[in-house]
Amino acid sequence: MLAIILTILLSFMSSYTVLSRCIDSTGTFPILSWFIIIPFLSSLLVLVFEEKFSKWITLIFASIELSVAIVIFQAYDRLKGGFQFVQDIPWLKNFGIHYLLGVDGISVMMVILTSCVYFSGALVSWSIQNRIKEYFVLFSLLVAGVAGAYVSLDLFFFFLFYEFAVLPMYLLVGIWGSGKKEYAAMKLTLLLLFGSAFMLVGFLAMYFGSHVHSFDIRVLSQISQTAFSPKFQNIWFPILFLGFGVISAIFPFHTWSPDGYGSAPTAASMLHAGVLKTLGGYSILRVAVACMPEGAKHWLPWLAILTVINMIYASLAAMKQTDLKYVAAYSSVAHCGYVLFGICTLQIYGLDGAVIQMFSHGIVAALTFASIGVIYGRAHTRELNKLGGLAAVLPIIGGIFLAGSMANLGLPGLSGFVGEFLIFLGAFKSGFHGGFSIFEILAPLGLLAIILTAIYVLRIVQIVLFGPVKDDHFHEIKDGSFVEILPLMFLLIVSLIIGVYPKPFIDLVNGPVSTLISHVGGIN
């Protein structure tokens, strides 16, 4: 216990001190590259050193990654706005491909999210017993891929990093998973690749459709009004939206999610639900909406129907699941529906809300999967009809599970509420905007999801935690150990911070969102 605390604190503090000094002295410090390299380095070192060091190395690097994210968060200049810490190295010059990194307020949120989930995931993986070395190699590799995707401003590298993240996921589910793991791994990967096929085609269309032949997102969005005709945008926007939507489990391409999460090992579900899934919504904002504003305006109100289906349908389906992890998976699908719905409002509150909700969903989903992992580790079952009364034997873990459930149903004071409130504020605002708007129907309909969420969330709380202790074996269960509680508490506190005082985060997101809105010419 002491060793873990010391490791975390030492590596966090030392790297924080070094980095905050570096970033002060020169404006050109490549901190974003470090953000990608650190998890790479971690998997490399795990590969080189003996197996018994694997988890410690990962923990050290995850703590460093956390400090990098916090330094970025602090150093990002909110007044200046725009993309900062930009690093531009020509890679294949003839094709206009650059190693181009940069973050704005939205990506800073995602950077923090990634590092938070990486850090807690490293701790959650402490109990891995099987093929430890390989596991941690792939685990960090996955993070490196996601981290790269979040800070890339070049579509080519974005795509590269994204694919980089999907493949370790395949192995993580296929090898360390449970249940129908091979089937689930295959399905997850194929569906995600199916989505990326759309993405790739969309990227190439933009590349060849404009005269500049660039993959630079900034350039593409700048020239979008002149280079891409409305017809072009109307054809390609939905394709890109669906391509990214598959990552965020949009109906009807969501079924990889329940099976995938149901089978994946805990930390893999955390990472996937926490950061990889959020990438879908993020890229819709970053790429699809920014580069095809006309297409977005034309299509988003109609695509909003799909997202409301996500919210309502997945919530309803969650009510009838019999496996704890499947409930969490459907819940995650429904929450991604909120994110996408917020984006579809194309409205400042809605977009702010969507970004906050992406972050919140990442943290809360990770928290939910992590606590389910602990419960599963104790009770050796996730079947709802075999669980019951665990609050009596697992007071701390049970309490955290309850708190996570409350965050899930959008209880104020936790992060979920801030996002959901803003999303609906935006949706109603879109409905208000003179004349008939489809949001007049969709906003109240979507709001119904808050009731449905309460029903399925409280249903599993009641089944799992309340009632008499169901199985005599449960009496021998001991409450969570320090290593198990630490990541859960960490995630809970992050959710609490945003829920209690969202202002700094909103300030961060507001800048890029209003830029985007005025670029698109949406409702401000």
């Binding site: 409130f421 009632g467 202002k503």
Partner: protein, 629 residues
């Protein structure tokens, strides 16, 4: 000096955190912290109250704000509004919470989760105080949800009982249904007025800045949506079903949360946003009728119940209905006055019930009887509360109820005569069910002698439980008098508009209401004390009605039918559709299709040169044929 108001919600939050993280092991320290904090909050509230009285009218109200979120031109704040309404509530909430916490020292003494209980109480009080001190709609909603959470935790405090586990879920979900409307109302209001602060919004309404087309319709819509929230939280028909079930929680919780404070939050909210409601006649009329209907509806159910806490719960519903009715007919002062006096006597009734349950270990009134002799303090304080709620002069309940009657009498709501009739008849029912309860439990000869309680000596409760009851009994007797005619202290402090408006005091009304209340008591004594008439015979004579009442109009059954077949039916349909159509059909299906396609193609690759040659020559032949035409 007023900035100490920040500490009023903050201190209990700190106490919650301290107990949960550090002092959980020690019962003494945990409860000590919690009670001391509550005492401090109570003293702070009194200090604010006294200081506020000396403020000139022009300096009122006091408003503090810090930004919580800023999105372009929209400022969302967290703040504190100190005005008579919030002062009334903070004094009330801290006072009752303090008493209930002291009471709980005795009541919960042997519970293994004693410290957790106190931490929840602290969290609840913090949320409630945050709610009543809110200076804007969003914050109101935030704390509104948090008190809901605490209610959930405390109803389910004995989570191992399946009934408690179900009840807390039901409470939360039913409240969520109300909150669905409430949140929609808040969002609509915020977007209409581009502000969430009470003062800003209410000023805009008052100034009529929003004179756009259909603005009255918009305000009506907003008011009705906000009212949905009140219907949920204050358990008005048709969302009343959660409150009786909420009695699964420990009895002090029922006293504090589900009688005195939290359930009154809906009423408080209507009073707080009265500018919105009073701008719409339709909304006001709806409020009045829903309140009136709930009052009589719940009172009839209370007549037939057997569980002491459930009788009190239906009584709470009915009294909340009175408050809502009062606000609906424009009796702002009357509604708040009844809220306050009700808090005292209803808390007392529940604490008394708790004292009885504590010693009898049953909730069934028919298993009790003759307890007055064995539990003198409990019996007498309970009697005081019963007289108060029945509206017997000069007890508190009499004054506040009379105020409501006067308000209805002088209102302009359509059909207010009907409402007055309902209110008076409900007063009769109130004293009838209340004294049915009192006579059966405290005077009747119950069956407890032959029951398992032979060796379990019935005893009076410890002083930690009795002292709060005595204090509340004192309040139940004397509180109402502060608003007696010619004195009218309460009306001078809390009123809506620019100057106090007290409905004219009418002697006729006093006579009617006391007569009605007394006749209820007499009837109850004839049935349940003197046994001149047999209640069973009456029940048999009107057996269909009796069965209907006994089963609470079958509303719970109707809702569970809806939930089971409609909501969960739909859920089953979605789950099935997802598994077999989307996943099995589309996803796996397309996979299988591709595999089948591959298998089909494989047959072409036979590896025999003759086959290939056949295809090649066949193709050439076909091309030749096509070309030659």
């Amino acid at each position: 000096m007023f900035s100490i108001a920040w500490w009023i919600p903050l201190l209990p939050i700190l106490s919650f955190i301290t107990i949960v993280l550090f002092t959980k092991k020690s019962k003494l320290i945990s409860s000590g912290i919690s009670i001391l904090v509550m005492l401090t909050c109570f003293i702070f509230s009194i200090m604010i109250f006294i200081r506020f009285l000396s403020l000139p009218l022009s300096a009122r109200p006091i408003n503090f704000s810090v930004p919580w979120m800023i999105i372009s031109s929209l400022h969302l704040n967290i703040g504190i509004l100190i005005d008579p309404l919030s002062i009334n509530m903070i004094v009330l909430v801290t006072f009752i919470s303090l008493l209930v916490q002291i009471y709980s020292l005795g009541y919960m003494k042997n519970d293994p989760r004693f410290s957790v209980y106190f931490s929840y109480l602290s969290l609840f009080t913090a949320s409630m105080l945050g709610l009543v001190l809110s200076n804007n709609y969003l914050q109101l909603f935030i704390f509104w949800e948090l008190v809901g959470l605490c209610s959930y935790l405390l109803i389910g405090f004995w989570y191992f009982k399946p009934s408690a586990a179900t009840a807390c879920k039901k409470a939360f979900v039913v409240n969520r249904i109300g909150d669905f409307g409430f949140l929609m109302g808040i969002i609509t209001l915020g977007l209409t007025f581009h502000a969430f602060d009470f003062q800003a919004v209410h000023q805009k309404i008052a100034l009529g800045l929003n004179n756009g087309v259909g603005s009255t319709a918009a305000i009506t819509l907003i008011a009705l949506l906000l009212f949905c929230g009140a219907v949920g939280k204050s358990a008005q028909f048709p969302l009343h079903v959660w409150l009786p079930d909420a009695m699964e929680g420990p009895t002090p919780i029922s006293a504090l949360i589900h009688a005195a404070t939290m359930v009154a939050a809906g009423v408080f909210m209507i009073a707080r946003t009265y500018q919105v409601f009073s701008a719409s006649t339709v909304a006001m009329t709806t409020v009045a009728y829903v309140g009136g209907f709930t009052a009589i509806f719940a009172a009839t159910i209370a007549l037939t119940q057997d569980d002491i806490k459930r009788i009190l719960a239906y009584s709470t519903l009915s009294q909340l209905g009175y408050m809502v009715l009062a606000l609906g007919v424009g009796g702002y002062t009357a509604g708040m006055f009844h809220l306050t006096s009700h808090a005292f006597f209803k808390a007392l009734l529940f604490l008394g019930a708790g004292s009885v349950i504590h010693s009898m270990e049953t909730n069934d009134i028919w298993k009790m009887g003759g307890l007055l002799k064995k539990m003198k303090v409990t019996g007498i304080t309970f009697l005081i509360a019963a007289l108060s709620i029945s509206g017997i002069p000069p007890f508190s309940g009499f004054w506040s109820k009379d105020e409501i009657f006067d308000a209805i009498q002088s209102s302009h709501v359509q059909g207010h005569q009907i409402l007055l009739g309902i209110a008076i008849f409900t007063a009769f029912l109130t004293s009838l069910y209340m004294f049915r309860l009192f006579f059966v439990v405290f005077l009747g000869n119950g069956h407890h002698e032959e029951d398992s309680h032979e060796n379990h000596a019935i005893h009076e409760s410890p002083w930690t439980m009795l002292v709060p009851m005595i204090i509340l009994a004192f309040m139940s007797i004397f509180f109402g008098m502060i608003n007696a005619p010619h004195l009218g202290l309460y009306s001078k402090f809390i009123y809506y508009g620019s100057h106090p408006q007290k409905a004219p005091f009418s002697i006729k009304m006093v006579l009617i209401s006391s007569l009605v209340a007394t006749s209820g008591i007499i009837l109850a004594s004839l049935f349940y004390w003197q046994k001149v008439f047999s209640a069973k015979a009456v029940a048999n004579a009107i057996s269909p009605i009796y069965t209907l009442l006994k089963n609470k109009y079958y509303i719970d059954e109707f809702y569970s039918f809806l939930a089971k077949y409609f909501v969960f039916g739909l859920a089953a349909l979605c789950a099935w559709f997802d598994k077999y159509v989307v996943d099995g059909g589309m996803v796996d299906g397309s996979g299988k299709l591709i595999c089948a396609f591959g298998r089909g193609l494989r047959k072409i690759e036979t590896g025999k040169i003759q086959n290939y040659a056949l295809v090649i020559f066949g193709a050439i032949a076909v091309i030749y044929l096509i070309m030659s035409f």
